[in-house]
Symmetry: C2
Subunit: 463 residues, 2 copies
């Protein structure tokens, strides 16, 4: 069969040119495109242009680096397959998380380092490696034959800071971005032998809570005992946000939560992600959480609340006998359908009104808010990806509800009316967002093979 020959040619091409592709991957990691820290703005810009240059080199058209109020959006397209073929909107983000704490890295986060089967570096897995998996698959096909699908590319540089620009960009460029569906490789696999399709994503509502006690720091000897210590008040407020069953006590928090049905619980159980798996991933000896739900249900299909940061008073060396005037906590909730960030903000404010002691002042700021989403697993493009994963791994792919948020999925559905095929080749132990982030090279290579299969499957789907 011609298609099989073409497929094999593309895969062989990728393997023959692997060292060139790999060097290019290292080159991409070396650009410290940290979106959260304005010191790195020139590097974020550089990464955008690096990507644009590669799209051009691959023969993509209309390649453009669009300015935003913060970091650029990169666009490109390939529409030569014809109107009767599907158009895929390939999404990715070229920005990375800050590498802090730096002293916990075993190698320079921006000097890619090979460690056995792994390539270590910030962004290796999240998601420079995933962006290139898609592009290398496309490049290998174009170098050896024809591509029977149309492509549009949209890469943002703000995913790690809550994507402030891309929603407006999509809204104002609906014609440019019009497609049949999106391919988003920013999700991951549950294990290296378990290719994974993600069909549900949690939303995010992220807040800062400020508590003020006295109007200046006080001497704890002179005044200790008569003012409500804001760090004490904040601790009490945080403590009260969960009950003894690990349930969140914000008023009405669970009202909109879509319950897990028995069928879905059985499927999630089949993922085989047991307590031992999660203990190994997190380094804790004993898991915690909401009573009545398994860990895999808790991280994927149940809403959660976490303190992400907390600060008050003197935290330097030695004793300083101060009653702080302020205390601050960063608190975020992960949401499931049909909760919305707006609901949670109201619930948090109501909680504060009901529980904050009268002696302190408080303020709640919302930092980011992304809706949750859940998709139809039988969607044709999803099934083409499932076939591709099965062909390469030789095993039945699994369906997972992901704990993280990929808000772009909801935005694309709402604004462009398209579904997203959500997968990727990131493994749970890749330490994304943590020191020593890495990617498992053999899995990444299989992922590129699978993406080649996917593009062929799609191209022949309507034949």
């Amino acid at each position: 069969m011609t298609n099989n020959t073409q497929l094999n040619n593309a895969i062989n091409y990728f393997e023959k040119n692997y060292s060139t592709y790999f060097e290019k991957f290292e080159e991409f990691i070396r650009i410290p495109s940290i979106s959260a820290d304005s010191k790195y703005n020139p590097d974020v810009e550089k990464a955008a242009h690096w990507l644009a240059a590669y799209l051009t080199e691959m023969g993509m058209e209309k390649v453009t680096v669009y300015s935003t109020t913060k970091h650029p959006i990169v666009y490109g397209e390939y529409l030569k397959a014809g109107l009767d073929k599907p158009t895929i909107l390939v999404y990715g983000h070229y920005d990375v998380q800050p590498p802090d704490p730096l002293n916990e890295w075993k190698s320079d986060p921006f000097e890619p380092t090979i460690d056995g089967d792994f390539l270590v570096g910030r962004g290796a897995s999240d998601m420079k490696g995933q962006i290139l998996a898609g592009l290398y698959a496309i490049d290998s096909i174009l170098a050896t034959g024809t591509l029977d699908v149309n492509l549009k590319f949209i890469y943002e540089g703000e995913e790690e800071i809550g994507s402030p620009s891309i929603v407006d960009f999509i809204k104002t460029h609906t014609d440019l971005l019009a497609s049949d569906f999106a391919l988003n490789l920013d999700a991951g696999m549950i294990g290296k032998d378990s290719p994974t399709i993600v069909y549900g994503l949690r939303g995010l509502a992220y807040f800062e809570i400020y508590v003020q006690g006295p109007d200046h720091d006080l001497h704890s000897g002179l005044f200790g005992g008569i003012v409500y210590n804001p760090a004490q008040a904040l601790s009490e407020l945080i403590a009260g946000m969960k009950d003894e069953n690990g349930r969140i006590t914000l008023p009405g928090f669970y009202d909109a939560v879509l319950p897990l049905d028995e069928n879905e619980r059985q499927e999630l159980a089949r993922l085989g992600l047991d307590d031992e798996f999660f203990k190994e991933q997190t380094g804790v000896e004993e898991l915690s959480g909401e009573i009545g739900y398994t860990p895999v249900e808790q991280v994927g299909a149940r809403p959660t609340l976490d303190v992400n940061g907390m600060s008050s008073g003197y935290t330097g060396e030695g004793p300083k006998t101060v009653i702080p005037s302020m205390a601050m906590a960063k608190i975020s909730t992960r949401l499931v359908p049909n909760q919305t960030p707006a609901m949670v903000k109201e619930q948090l404010i109501q909680y504060m009104q009901e529980h904050a002691p009268s002696q302190i002042k408080w303020e709640v700021k919302q930092l980011s808010s992304d809706p949750a989403s859940i998709a139809d697993r039988s969607y044709y493009a999803t099934q083409c990806f499932v076939d591709a994963l099965r062909e390469v791994w030789g095993t039945e792919p699994v369906y997972k509800r992901e704990g993280g948020s990929i808000p772009i999925v909801s935005h694309m559905k709402d604004t462009l009316g398209i579904e997203s095929v959500l997968s990727g080749f990131c493994l749970p132990g890749d330490l994304i967002h943590s020191p020593n982030e890495h990617i498992h090279i053999p899995t990444w290579k299989k992922g590129i093979h699978a993406t080649i299969h996917f593009l062929y499957n799609l191209g022949t789907h309507n034949d």
Copy 2:
């Protein structure tokens, strides 16, 4: 009367030379002798030598700057009054608190600035101004007549970091320091028209509590819900340390507390420090604290517990979706007789054992521990000081139990067997340990007059 003439001569001398004395005060403040920050070690050293030079200039003998493992101790003596006269051990500390937060100062903390009746600068009130009040009184007497008491001076540079060296120094220099009583001007007044003798001091037990959850920071999307967040655990532990009546729940915490008798409660009430006074001092609209005790009882005669600092996770700008691996709090308790820091440490550890969730690891470090003390108000030297205060202010001095800790008082009693006369000319609004620390110049000058009176009262006491 000769004594009255001499007294007036000394006071007139001080007033005539006031501008010289004041410039010297400013010179002392300009030395940033911050003991907590090793960057300032040379300045702490400089302040010690500045003080030693002044003692020498005043005619004191055996002036020595003793090295310790950290900051020097300055000694000097004047023993010309004769064996039948009392010997006073004059105590002081020449180190100061860090000036942080710097951006809240209206002027450079180490460039003394006059603002109306106030001299603004770090250490102006705590306690460079108090050290000089004592020395200027002595200098004015020596310049105009004879001093009928013997003096020994001991000045440390580590009071603001818990006095790690002076206890050992006292123990190994008991002969050198042998005296009849100590004069310590590191206490203060309750108001500018209320000269004050402090007869009780709270102790201090200061801890750091570390809580560890996962062994590295985790992505809150991937793992949120299944690990016990250490910031949540720490918040729950802190919240549980007080009950709804503002009482501290460490097991057995109140067992050793010396109860306030009715007589003492009435006296404390006579201080006139009402709710409005404390609201003004602290800038809160509503006071808090232990039910059943007035604010003045709470800050002086009841033990308290405060969070002095707290930190966990990401506290920079914007959202970072991390589950922190660690959380830390600095927590200190102020103790009253007959509690001891060792008891409280045991109680805190027992509390942690009983309440820390099994999913986290924890550690308690003790940073400093000072005993509480209570003194006999009718002691003769105390009464000489009371007379001096009455003579200058024209009003009856008040007796107060102080909320802060001056651990040196207990150490001198235990090791040298001497009482301390505890007073000083610091006012509640002086913002000691806070930005914009200042001293009220008219009160400070009256304090110098009173100290001259005191030295004459003492010199004639045994006549």
